[in-house]
Amino acid sequence: MVGINEHRRKQLMELMEERKWDSILLYGQGWRKDYFRALVNVNYMGPYAAAWLSRSGELRVFVTDPWDREWMAEFVGTQATLVYDFEGNLPGAPAVAGLELMEARLVDPGAVSATAEIEELRRVKTPEEIETLRRACDLADRGYEYFADVIEPGMREFELVAEVEGFLKSNGAEDNFMLIASGGTEVVGMKPPTERKLEKGDAVTTELTPQVDGYYAQICRTVVLGEPSRGQRESFAIFSEAQQAAEDLIKPGVKASDAARAQNDVFRKYGYGEYTGPKYTRVRGHCLGLFPDETPHILEDVDYTLKQDMVVIAHPNTYLPLAGYMVHGDCLLLTADGNQRMNHTEKKLFVKEV
């Protein structure tokens, strides 16, 4: 579904009518291309791009890299305008999605933010978006299978990541967000790969997030090099139960806070409640789409009611003194009366024979 998202165009026109906005500007920069790609799903390479849409449906696209211009035209149908900044190039005073991230020099003093409204529209996926996310989940599954296959003691963390990156790109990933950690109880979180050599007995965690045609899917799994220790098995059993608790609960109408609580209560039941807070973990899940960490986050203080056709990952990732930081999670599509697991990788503590 690369190109203009016509469903979104219609949604945006309705939104403008409702809010009495004359136009909307969807602004993307290097880190957050998602606001732009919500309407014009083309992976621009310049530092910025913007899509301007009028209430009547007229679309103009602005790019900042000459190479993007020609490429964009193939998808948009009309020539994109090459600009250095938006000053003098935008008709009227649009409401801006991504206003908060826009460089100050580009911001009209009276600009209104449309960020929250656009994020809410994006949370509920169209059938085409769901299909794209299924393909991304499939690639995440295959990527993890490859990860668990090539990993071996003696390999450095960044070499393992290189192998997986090569695999994902060879299979059509546009990008990938990936964190990793290896070791034992000293490991308190994931980060980019280091030069550390993997050792027998290590638990190796990864959050693999390939992007396919703009959309990110994620899988979280843990693999042990060699026979897992009692602590690793005991720890994983808690993570598995917590993830399952969320999967059993999540459906339209359930609050994000309850999805988090269901996971945290499992840790509390085993006496590890203190490890569900910000000192040891970040979130118990999040939404996925054109950004790998879309809101709402699954946290006990997030008062948001989940809706049908949202895609969320429930991952009780945290540190436990039993075996260090561990991860486990899958993408879930909210259906009319429940959810459907979108990843198909076995839900287990992976073991690599060494």
Partner: protein, 254 residues
């Protein structure tokens, strides 16, 4: 994205290099009678912070505060759980959590008693942060003249260019008649195995401008554009295969 190796090569970039760079910034602060300058950093805009402190975030946003006197401080959007790792690859000793950048900076300035503050390239600061600093007495400090590449910087870029070119020389002729995804995957694997932190590869064929792989079979004639980040240093190298005329509008690192 930055998911490759992030490290600090202390032989190539000894602490004295960063001391000298920071001294230049402090001299500019003294000239302007400012107590400190703030440098914005996120995953896609990390060059300024990296040049001054070797900090290159793989995710999230942060502010580097460089006082006129004393060590630089990182107001960090990342979790405190990764602070030991950040300390191991940067000059920072003091790192403070800052999930909300502007309020954290305001609080920090109040603590230090600063009534004025410089911001490196203020007009380029994200609106969300810049708008909340307006009452703080912030002053734009242009990066011009403060971030001029020194010998160490140029040497690192030369290393990055050499790495990029050597792999490209060995791989470019292997793309003909295969899926562009496959070709890009091979390059990506080689670069990241060699320590690249980030890689962006674009291909040009059939007279079209360079673009990411899209599932096409490469012909015998094409050109490759590689943007590569190695230990925080970006370079661009291009190479043509067969009789392809090269990539219009591109140039190699010099």
């Amino acid at each position: 994205m930055k998911r490759g190796l992030i490290a600090w090569d202390r032989e190539a970039l000894p602490p004295a290099v960063f001391d000298a760079r920071l001294a230049k910034v402090r001299a500019a602060l003294a000239e302007r009678d400012l107590p400190a300058v703030v440098v914005y950093s996120d995953v896609a805009r990390s060059n300024d912070a990296r040049f001054l402190t070797n900090f290159m975030p793989y995710w999230n946003r942060s502010l580097v505060v460089i006082p006129r006197e004393g060590a630089p401080v990182l107001l960090c959007g990342l979790s405190p759980r990764v602070y030991p790792w950040i300390r191991s690859v940067t000059v920072f000793e003091e790192i403070r959590p800052a999930s909300k950048l502007a309020p954290s900076l305001v609080e920090f300035c109040e603590e230090r008693g600063w009534k004025r503050l410089g911001v490196l390239d203020l007009p380029k600061m994200p609106n969300e942060v810049e708008s909340r600093l307006r009452g703080l007495g912030v002053i734009d400090v242009s990066s011009q003249g403060l971030l001029e590449p020194d010998e160490a910087e140029l040497a690192m870029r030369a290393r990055a260019e050499k790495l990029t070119r050597s792999i490209l020389e060995g791989q470019t002729n292997l793309g003909a008649s295969i899926l562009d995804y496959e070709f890009v995957g091979r390059l990506e694997r080689e670069y990241r195995r060699s320590g690249a932190e980030d890689v962006v590869i674009r291909l040009s064929s059939n007279g079209k401008t360079p673009r990411p792989a899209n599932g096409s079979i490469l012909t015998d004639e094409y050109s490759v554009v590689v943007d590569l980040e190695y230990l925080g240093h970006w370079v661009r190298v291009t190479k043509a295969q067969g009789a392809h005329p090269g990539t219009p509008g591109s140039g190699d690192a010099l």
